[in-house]
Symmetry: C2
């Protein structure tokens, strides 16, 4: 077979795809010319020409006598590789980047945070003025590796009052809630380890776990927490290293974990020797505390994480981890090695100030009332379009809704994005991609009068997703196993 | 052989050591009872009893029919495992933790930063008051994934003026300089990859690379940069993925890279296809810019990182990466996945304010003059004790000094620590542990009158290190290869 331009391009595309999907890493040897020719049904001269062209581009390099290798300067570990380029698919990272990137002209009913004008403006400005008079060491030094003692003290007191006694050596401040989970993953996971998540779950868990090269298995979620039988089954079958979940105000559903399911999940995790990360970043939006895995377990195999990004300021960058002292010691070493110090001592001082002077508590009271009202209003507006919440959350920002007539939420989100509206389609939350006609709405970001008419119009335009839902599927439209890798 | 209590304890200690040193990870299967008995020369009943006792402790768990496994709740990936417990050896992490942890009662001539009262007090407080009047979105939102545009614009302009043209999509803000290197390592490295560092180098590079499970190879360092022949040899032999270095005001030596060596290092890196991380966090302390790998290379295979922790405030937590646009895109995704957002927009706004209003430039002028004076004074005081700098740095905080009579710097640091003085002994900077009679002094942290008398007394007490230095070794006391893993 002679070399042909079309075939050469195909072989080049094949190698590029392997590099982008990380089947081939920088420095890895490429298949031999003969071997690849055989497996692709191409001529050796076609493959040789493709390799020469890729070497000229710099993607691969020849080493005399030992073959071709992917260049170190080729794009290595890339999260973007999970989606085709250049038109990036709607995936978890697309979701984060669009929500973060969009300027003021973009409406964001799909984002996961409150509008700036819901935040405690006066309290933050007052805390900054107070900070401008603080000890110089707070303004210039690295601070303690565990994080600023005043904030750690307030947090420990709050947790103890909520039934979770926490000693001083069980609490580490971090740069954010996501950073807290990332440190835990670095500490606990090795590439190929299995991690359980809820299906659906917060979409960035999946991007984060991809960065750790973990295998993600979804457990079907019910209005009271993960399906306990499916959880026990997945735990026994996969012996996962970690399970990551939100117990209070679950993202995206807004569900609350019941004590009954909490108890069963803990027992199944104990049998499988699985560590649980309870991500409580929305917890302060709860008017009354609900069941917590960390409280039942007493920080034996449960790690609690939190932050102030959702309730106070995302600009302040401050999260925390509560865990066993030996784990906190190791996590502190990891944070020093990888960040040289925890969160900004200035940031911790600002947060502590607002927690101590009562402005945070008053702000939360206001948020509860305002979110309750907006949740009712949003549910009523969406109902007019036939968009129904899966459950009525007790608290929080989110309504997890089914689109009418099995409309494809991903296509709807793509069309809305062209009109400068960022929506959050179900599949970015689902490891099993089983929520194609679901959408997460942020009730605090739906005030713009253009939104509902646009949704109504687009609902009429987008196609339904595949066949109608099977009656055997559960209320969230998820498959029986929910497992996917 | 019957089971004996002493032998049982030995077997238990052996398994604990394997877990601590990560030979055994959580979930890993332990050796079979018979196999371990054979290899340790113990009786199977001794090993069985040791396993039962470890299972009762929770370190390991039995799975009926399939043997014993290290428990997931056993201490997994632990950087502390590199040093024996509970009395931790003086290692890179000990160095960081002690320098960060010590309160005001501790003298820190071994730390790597300026005292709080050297920092621009008035400018920081003014920037905080300005910030308290900023747009609410800066005070509450996540900000753009690449980092705040005003700071990125100033940084790009400064780099362009220094001969390194940088486009808007080539600059990413991060949480710190260390965090910048950590992101790059996550992007570039896989466990087992080789990374070149200078011998000696900044000690936290080694802790960071341990967290990435990289193999670290040290290249002997000369007063003009890495030994170019040794670098070319190590690059050719190990084909390292990365080389991490400081070109300006090298840590710990204070050396300045020469243009001649920069050129040779770049060529050797190109042959071996090695990516270079040029850590420039001390660069602003240079009165005149010196040779830079990034400038010669134009951000093809060199990545430049920097931060403001050393020159403005370590509390403000803001670093940056300048690199190829495709790498910046992938690093941005990684930062979103692992931190959800870059540095605090508030922090970036404060830094930008001080860069734009000229207070940073005036502060740097003051720092140059003050450091020059302190460097002369410290060198004179140390000379009285027979402590000689390896070279006289053009700028910066550090004096890298040889102790007289081959005194053991690690023992000296241990004794000083008991007297609340944190010193920085040579070996924490040396991948090859070839700097046992060297010490890094921070000239800005030597003002306390107790320091010199204590050093004089301790120098008389501590033993010399091993045999006298071989004449064949170079001035830094390093071996010819400097390679170590």
């Amino acid at each position: 077979m002679p070399s042909s331009p079309g075939r050469t391009a195909q072989v080049m595309a094949d190698i590029r795809r392997r590099a982008a999907s990380r089947q081939l890493g920088p420095g890895d040897r490429l298949p031999s010319i003969r071997g690849l020719a055989r497996s692709l049904g191409a001529s050796p001269s076609t493959v040789a020409e493709a390799y020469d062209r890729l070497a000229a581009e710099g993607l691969i390099r020849a080493r005399p006598g030992s073959g071709f290798f992917l260049a170190a300067t080729a794009l290595p570990l890339s999260l973007a590789a999970v989606a085709p380029q250049p038109e990036r698919e709607i995936d978890p990272l697309w979701m984060s980047r669009q929500a973060l990137d969009g300027g003021d002209a973009v409406l964001k009913p799909g984002c996961g945070w409150l509008p700036a004008d819901w935040m405690p403006d006066a309290a933050i400005r007052r805390a900054l003025r107070t900070l401008s008079r603080a000890d110089l060491s707070i303004l210039t030094d690295y601070g303690s590796p565990l994080g600023a003692p005043p904030l750690r003290k307030v947090l420990a007191r709050q947790m103890s009052m909520a039934g979770l006694p926490v000693a001083a050596d069980q609490l580490l401040l971090t740069g954010s809630g996501t950073h807290a989970i990332d440190l835990i993953c670095r500490f606990m996971l090795r590439p190929g380890d299995t991690v359980l998540v809820d299906d659906p779950c917060y979409f960035n868990f999946r991007a984060l776990l991809l960065a750790h090269q973990a295998r993600v298995v979804g457990v079907p979620f019910t209005p009271e927490g993960p399906d306990p039988d499916a959880f026990a089954h997945a735990a026994a079958r996969h012996e996962p290293r970690l399970y990551i979940t939100n117990s209070a105000i679950h993202n995206p559903t807004g569900a609350t974990l019941s004590a009954r399911i909490a108890h069963r999940v803990l027992n199944a995790a104990a049998v499988a020797d699985t560590v649980i990360v309870e991500d409580d970043i929305f917890a302060d939006l709860e008017p009354e505390p609900s069941a917590r895995l960390a409280v039942l377990d007493g920080l034996t195999r449960v790690i609690r994480i939190g932050s102030f990004s959702k309730t106070l300021s995302a600009s302040v960058r401050c999260g925390f981890i509560a865990a066993r002292p030996d784990w906190i010691a190791a996590l502190t070493d990891l944070q020093v090695a990888t960040q040289f110090g925890g969160p900004s001592p200035m940031a911790a001082a600002m947060v502590a100030e607002m927690l101590i002077d009562g402005s945070y508590r008053r702000h939360l009271d206001m948020l509860h009332r305002r979110l309750n009202r907006k949740r009712r209003e949003a549910a009523a507006s969406l109902a007019e379009l036939g968009i129904q919440p899966w459950l009525t959350p007790r608290a929080g920002l989110f309504l997890w809704c089914r689109l009418p007539d099995n409309r494809n939420a991903t296509v709807l989100a793509e069309r809305a994005f062209r009109e400068n509206v960022v929506l959050a389609p179900g599949d970015v939350f689902s490891a099993g991609r089983t929520a194609r006609n679901f959408m997460r709405f942020n009730v605090a970001q739906m005030g713009d009068a253009r939104l509902m008419p646009m949704l109504r119009r687009l609902l009429g335009e987008v196609p339904p997703y595949g066949p109608p839902q099977q009656p055997g599927r559960d209320a969230a439209g998820m498959t029986a196993t929910g497992a996917s890798s």
